[in-house]
Amino acid sequence: MVEGVTTFIQATFNGLLQGIIYAAIAAGLSLTLGVMGIINVAHAALGLLAAYLGWSSINLLGLDLFTSLVIIAGIFFVIGVIIERVLLRRLYGEEAWASLLVLFGLMIVIEIVANLIWTTTERVIAVPWPAALELGPFRLSTTRLVGGLIMLAAIVAVHVFLTYGRIGRGMRAMAHNRDAAEILGINTDRLSMILFGLGVALAAGGGIALGLIFPLTPQLHTQWLILAILIVVVGGLGGLPQTLLAAVGVALVETWTGLYVSFRYVDVVLYLVLIALLWIRREGLAGSRERSL
């Protein structure tokens, strides 16, 4: 009985930390969808690419986790800016599927590049700490703890930036009405670039943190993408706190399903929840139906 309780608390706490890591990758998706109305299907693939770069930088170059994380997130901010400027900018006036198709192509390209460079061999990011932290009767995963805390800090920082900064106010105005924001003197082109860069940088950070807890394979991004979409659908586009809450919820459902039902049904349960939610929330996700005209 006591052992059951211990297992539950331990699993729940690890699930909680995993949820924070999920939130990082979902937050970027939620930002770009909420403000720019673009569902970045290459989002998780970019995160996976960052995770692989993290693996190379930590395992091969011997850099430490924090340095790698900062450098790679910086690089991916620039990559995001370039994607927005080169690929998406010219498609704003077009139908939504044009940008979706471009990002879909990008997703394929990234997956293949990852496959060519890092092969299908599982890659595990090496960390210098012991795998678990003994805390009385509980065993906590150190990678989850470190990854979770860094991502929590990152999410809080982005949230503060978006809530109180001048750029953040501009972005919220843009989310409500891009044309009106432009007329009122907001440089929406520049904001879109920064925003997309921020989204991709979050994907990179989240990807590296996920790389700490899962072995990397080139097709893993499809599962991450579905997780991120699931979290965005559960949390809505209200803001990062909701995304964080939704991510933790999803991770706990995942943990408890694995613990009490069966590990092989985790994906099935999550996907079915997602499809059910997409049906239920099909009009509520982007706010209202009119907004997506």
Partner: protein, 318 residues
């Protein structure tokens, strides 16, 4: 017209004369993908609703035939009909809720659906998971079997293309184009938009399901990777866009171009090492396809047909 007859005669004659099984197999794949591209084209090309998971319907067809034969020894003809029915039911299940909503929702749901079906095939108790299912070959003579499947897929491609061409000038085709160009206007002019969209999804799903059913019997071994490969979802989109989405000729031009390009890439990169690795031809072809998809989406989005028929009029968004 004369050119069309010439092409058909060439294709039929080729099927009789070609003795290399490898070439015949490539051509069979080509015609199978032509059917898939045409199936995608109805809702995706004419209707403008991006389906990124037509492979899910293909896989449903694959597993319907495989499971029926594996468990009950059902003959292929019955299996194909059953596959058409299951694919249609599947489309009816996901079509109405997703297609009632505008925008990119449908694309996202179909994308997820493709991933989901593969995970289900791995995890459900009755699909044999990663172990896979062996089917008996259609005939004992492998050459004869290869030729039969070639003609079956050629016939299917011909019938599908003619049907789509006929649809182009009919009420249904005009309704789809109206939905693509301006769904609100179409709706207000009395087009039953949801029912038109769902019907085209079902027709496309049935075609994909039939392709999958025949494919299962053709390759005789089925596992989740064989039934739900990413390329059955991507390549039809690429072919339709490459040739010209929303025209009956688009998939007819696009399918050979993409298959040909794939073969050229396979041959020319087959011996080369990239990033110090050799023997990775399939991935390189896919990489190039991904790049082409991006370019197509960015620029000449109406494909080769767009070069022939310039787009009429311009639209401005709100």
């Amino acid at each position: 017209m004369a050119l069309g007859v010439l092409v058909v005669v060439g294709v039929l004659g080729g099927g009789l004369l070609i003795s290399s099984r490898a070439i015949l197999s490539t051509l069979t794949t080509l015609f199978m993908f032509m059917v898939l591209a045409q199936a995608w084209n109805i809702l995706g090309g004419y209707g403008g609703y991006l389906n990124l998971g037509i492979g899910a319907f293909f896989g449903v067809g694959v597993y319907t035939v495989a499971l029926l034969e594996h468990n009950f020894g059902t003959p292929l003809v019955v299996g194909v009909m059953a596959a058409a029915v299951t694919a249609a039911l599947f489309a009816l299940l996901i079509g109405p809720p997703t297609l009632r909503v505008r925008g990119v929702y449908f694309a996202i749901i179909t994308l997820i659906l493709g991933f989901l079906m593969q995970r289900l095939a791995f995890n459900l108790p009755f699909t044999e998971g990663a172990v896979g299912i062996f089917l008996s070959p259609l005939t004992s003579d492998a050459n004869r079997t290869a030729r039969i499947f070639y003609f079956v897929f050629v016939g299917l491609a011909l019938v599908t293309t003619l049907a789509v061409r006929r649809m182009e000038g009919r009420r249904f085709g005009f309704a789809l184009v109206a939905i693509r160009e301006d769904e609100d206007a179409a709706d207000s002019l009395g087009v039953k938009t949801t029912s038109v969209k769902v019907s085209s999804l079902v027709v496309g799903a049935v075609l994909a399901g039939i392709c999958g059913a025949l494919f299962a019997k053709w390759i005789t071994f089925i596992d989740p990777d064989a039934a739900f490969p990413l390329n059955t979802s991507i390549d039809p989109v690429l072919m339709a866009f490459f040739g010209g989405a929303g025209t009956w000729l688009g998939p007819v031009l696009g399918a050979p171009l993409v298959v040909l390009l794939g073969e050229i890439l396979r041959v020319s990169f087959g011996g080369l090492g990239i990033f110090g690795r050799t023997g990775i031809p399939a991935e390189v072809a896919r990489l190039v396809f991904g790049l082409i998809l991006m370019v197509v989406a960015l620029g000449a989005r109406r494909g080769l047909m767009g070069l022939v028929q310039p787009r009429k009029g311009t639209r401005s968004g709100v």
